[in-house]
Symmetry: D2
Subunit: 402 residues, 4 copies
Amino acid sequence: MPPSNAPLLAAGPEVVAIPGPSVMPARVLNAMHRSMPDIYAGDLTDVIDEVFDALPAIAGTTSRAFVPIGNGHAGWEMALSNTLSRGQLVLVLDCGRFAAIWGEMAEFNGLRVETITAPFGQAIDPAVVEERLAADTGHEIAAVLTVHVDTASSVRNDIPAIRSAIDAAGHPAMFMVDCIASMGCERFEMDAWRVDVTISASQKGLMTPPGLAMVWAGPKALAAHESADLRTRYWDWTYRTEDGPYYLRFCGTPPVSHLFGLREALRMIDEEGLEARYARHVRLADAVRAAVRAWSTEGGLGFTATVAEQRSHAVTSIRTGSIDADALAHRCRDQFGVTLGVGIGGEPGTSFRIGHMGHVNAPMVLGVLGAIESALADLGAPTAGSGVAAASAALAAAGHDG
Amino acid sequence: MPPSNAPLLAAGPEVVAIPGPSVMPARVLNAMHRSMPDIYAGDLTDVIDEVFDALPAIAGTTSRAFVPIGNGHAGWEMALSNTLSRGQLVLVLDCGRFAAIWGEMAEFNGLRVETITAPFGQAIDPAVVEERLAADTGHEIAAVLTVHVDTASSVRNDIPAIRSAIDAAGHPAMFMVDCIASMGCERFEMDAWRVDVTISASQKGLMTPPGLAMVWAGPKALAAHESADLRTRYWDWTYRTEDGPYYLRFCGTPPVSHLFGLREALRMIDEEGLEARYARHVRLADAVRAAVRAWSTEGGLGFTATVAEQRSHAVTSIRTGSIDADALAHRCRDQFGVTLGVGIGGEPGTSFRIGHMGHVNAPMVLGVLGAIESALADLGAPTAGSGVAAASAALAAAGHDG
Amino acid sequence: MPPSNAPLLAAGPEVVAIPGPSVMPARVLNAMHRSMPDIYAGDLTDVIDEVFDALPAIAGTTSRAFVPIGNGHAGWEMALSNTLSRGQLVLVLDCGRFAAIWGEMAEFNGLRVETITAPFGQAIDPAVVEERLAADTGHEIAAVLTVHVDTASSVRNDIPAIRSAIDAAGHPAMFMVDCIASMGCERFEMDAWRVDVTISASQKGLMTPPGLAMVWAGPKALAAHESADLRTRYWDWTYRTEDGPYYLRFCGTPPVSHLFGLREALRMIDEEGLEARYARHVRLADAVRAAVRAWSTEGGLGFTATVAEQRSHAVTSIRTGSIDADALAHRCRDQFGVTLGVGIGGEPGTSFRIGHMGHVNAPMVLGVLGAIESALADLGAPTAGSGVAAASAALAAAGHDG
Amino acid sequence: MPPSNAPLLAAGPEVVAIPGPSVMPARVLNAMHRSMPDIYAGDLTDVIDEVFDALPAIAGTTSRAFVPIGNGHAGWEMALSNTLSRGQLVLVLDCGRFAAIWGEMAEFNGLRVETITAPFGQAIDPAVVEERLAADTGHEIAAVLTVHVDTASSVRNDIPAIRSAIDAAGHPAMFMVDCIASMGCERFEMDAWRVDVTISASQKGLMTPPGLAMVWAGPKALAAHESADLRTRYWDWTYRTEDGPYYLRFCGTPPVSHLFGLREALRMIDEEGLEARYARHVRLADAVRAAVRAWSTEGGLGFTATVAEQRSHAVTSIRTGSIDADALAHRCRDQFGVTLGVGIGGEPGTSFRIGHMGHVNAPMVLGVLGAIESALADLGAPTAGSGVAAASAALAAAGHDG
């Protein structure tokens, strides 16, 4: 009786392995579980200071961050509205799905948009960017917009290489990078890579429930801000000055709970260390990739991101070939208590995603892979070998060489 | 030794009696304290349905609400950007502070703004509104903006009377009302009073930590939306359709924790009943006002809101005359563990505010009043009699006549 | 309509002013809200060390405490079983209710019991103790058992005076004192006062939910332990050695959540300081007593504890004379959201109790007193004046003289 | 650099896979996170009623349970003291470690004790029990004490078979069974199996933090209670009557937080259903056993419980042969964030234990097994094959046949 059987193995703590919102640490949830403080003085202002002081380092910059209450799309809109003017042209570099949506927002908000789209499953080719910018001899393009990691395709762009392409073209466009899926998980160096605007949000590698975005603004962006005519009050950087009362930084009442939570998350990041954090994400991603390779068959499972070095360390999209990805996801959830991320892009039912970002470790990754393997077997899906065994082996090796 | 004495009586649960963020119920905080669910299906979508279904009733309307992640200012910007176009004229009715700030936002965002300002401490005079609108024979004024309750002055406008004034002038302007300080506390009937756009936020009478705004849009507003050119993607009502996937209602990742919290708060409101809730706020406000009257002396304490029937049932601003309001607030906080709201408007140090909104009851109000009375005595401030005794007496009477 | 009226003012945070379990600090509840750790090593063992190291000081002793999982009665049984043998005689000094119950336990467990009962509302007279012990020339009495504060009558015994009485009689009996209602609230000096066994529990002044008892054992008690034949394994002090593995201190699995909670509570006590804590309890008790005096009428409200200097600073029992105490308590709870402690001892419906122990401060006490005053007025009960006004005045004075 | 490498993969939620305290559901922790209620009326008394009404069914009985605040040892002492008298003889059946400790308690508390010890790794042989009881023609043996599952050896006794042995011997001894490690995980039918006293505790299959024990007393035990002379007040069943006030059931202040938590846990058990729960534990245990078998080598890993049908479905003890079990446990914890249970019994460092009891599911078990496999590889330990692959395969099969 499959129906009555279904829930048996799913009791116990639900495991949600989607690429964000990710697993929230108990420390963060406990920090958010508190009564409301005074919002003009005392504890909350200390928290705000600590959060704003800590944010630059995690983006590899000395530039301050703005922190709108909102999600990642709020970060996108804050970035656009503070730096651009109606009718300006932006060049969107899309390697999956999210840069394109950002571009749609830019167009809706009054900008002209031109998009370079990488073949699905591949990162942006910097040479194509250089070629397009070199052709823009009038410097009509005001900004280049892209993502560090595309959450849909799980492809990671080579940001330094794109920066070099812009430079090689001698083009003055601002360079804006969405790091929503990668911040705190994958190395990102805003200053060293000369990114002008960096965008992130709380709910993935930063381990805080959705509801906060972050926008780091470099000097070129702040200069553009002076004359940008898309500016509106809610997003406006000048209004959100750090010189005035604390609530102005949030254009009104501060997001109390989230600030206490984010403060705790930033402390956890500091305690672990960014380098250790990046290394952890690489190793866990390697384990996931070892599993996918072990399962992989002709016409069966494989990577959405076709080029190995372009695969994100925070999320992995897996194409399922002849296997029904939706059936697999349902089996994982109903039988084994594991919720996978739905595939985005491509035909429906042909891929799924695993988030391995933020507050994640070896038993979580292995448990998810093990449950997928059980579900694959349960469905009679073809696999070349045991993915979870390969992942365990990969993690063992990781233990040796530091 | 006053310094060492100071903290003695302040141990125990801190009481923050500011006019928002208010006291959060344990039920709400517990509901927010949870792991992240799938955001495409399951529990979260049930919560979203329940929240959206419950929101119309609390505003006295059948119109649906939009729920931007953000604070009250986000609600303001959503309302303006979805219904108005660059260069249009709006008439702001200010009776304290917050309508004026909303007007500043409107101007910054490209609207022309004209403001009618009530004498400080008084509500808007509907006759003045009627006169101005009647003079606008060309119907240049696209919208009338005001607040239901001004959180600074604690004055409540007579919204039905202003509506009648607009009607009497035969003016087609949209009528937009900010109910951030009053929603869930004071009677508000969007449909019966023919308000076109109502704005609120989570952190006051709705008993949910700051981070969510609500904008209820009536038919006239939705019609105006069609041609409004201030629209941007993050705020856009059309994009936030209920017909598509749930995340579109939030223009991206939903605010998971807040939605679980707001759902619980809305259930609590439903369990208590809106009428009982309004009656409770009246009685507790009456107790506060009985205290202020008992304390009141020539040149000493008194009401900021000079007209009795204009005093809000959710917040009370108290002018302190010759008494240093800042010294009083510090004494309350440091000696007695009670944080008062700072006065806004008027000379610095000449007023303070007490929030009595949302999750509040007799012992809370009496405890705050008692601590203020102790602090007043401690400062040697003149008072005509015992405010807390008068408040206790007022609440006793409230018990009798139902 | 009183029924529909009833709940109106009771919405908001329920205030439970019973004499224990008392108000739990958010810090303590949050510390308890955690996953289970390893019980053999790591965090938990650090917590156990910190708790055991901190417990002696709060009892004014250098003797170690034993910490049985259990309530106050568990503490009683641990004390008796570890130090006494079947058929031995104990002298119980009862000034309310709880010493007598302890005596019933002693008798049930195989001891002979003789009880000195103070007139209700009065503390034990040390002269009577001295007289009885002097008459016990054969030193048949093995132990003297009493309470520091009786939670029922709210009478505080003069422990040093009783100690002096024992000494004056030249009697070698062990002196065992139940400090369940007073520990952390009222000064207690186990070593200076030469108490041999002190008993307390977590849920009152120690601000941790019920479930832990503490028994501090002095040298005389540890010596008596060697030959006591009431010993059983669960309570046995020798088995609960600190020399072995940590779980032995709890005779099995440690009470994980409570230990994390108690650790946090002990840190809060340390941060406030014991002297400041005692002073706070005196002042808040003074405020309660000022209210009772102000309400007091011939035949109406008054103190159960008839002698002023014998009144506890942690709990106050109030006799209600002609007023129906049960009706008053129901009115407080149903109308105003304040739960009072039921009266214990005397005729039913003739007294009630207010707990003012542990995590308590001025607004809490004033809120409870104000609600009682409202309820008294609501019932038409006779009162001489405003108790809550008197309490506010008393707290103001407390602010001056440090 | 192993040291700096160590913590990398251990970030993320700590997984504690010890055989109790087990993983606590968020629902239970949230239910415990609350302010203290009145203890004489209202919510708490509803909770107590619900808990006491629900407890019989989970033990397969109509007999009521007593619920001492305490751990499992408290349950043992309550059972002994309420039913036996000094000098009586009890027969202890030990198949690991815990029945023997219970026997030590019995002896300490004044009983005579005779122990039948199974060969380590094996269950009690019912024939041996029958033989001994048949030889006790004078019926000197008052009670037979054993465990359902021994948490140390992970051996499960055949309780119906032992019952049959007692019957076959025609012996009237009471039959007392410790179900601390099995209750809520493995089928147990107190009434059908004619067990007279059943003992459990909150922290394993009942998913509530340590601090509560349960003792179900059948008719024969209640009859023996009448004349038992080991009775003491704290444990006494008569005093803990359900006819009086609620606090008497706990011999004093009730364990408020734990009762709210246990109520929620019992609701979760009811929602899942006992049969589904037993089936889940069998399947997850089968997965663990599939892994052990796959790893198993001559001289390497293997089962402590040597007979397949005697292996518990709640805990598995694994002997490590030539592999250093302590090194393995440290590697699991430090490298991979998984805490294993230390081995109990046998030479130090030669075994470890995995708890798979209560709030546990497929990804948790697979994650723990995967981490162990990684650690084994990391240590260069010999294994015959991939245990985690075998476990995934076992769970897949479980999905098919319901």
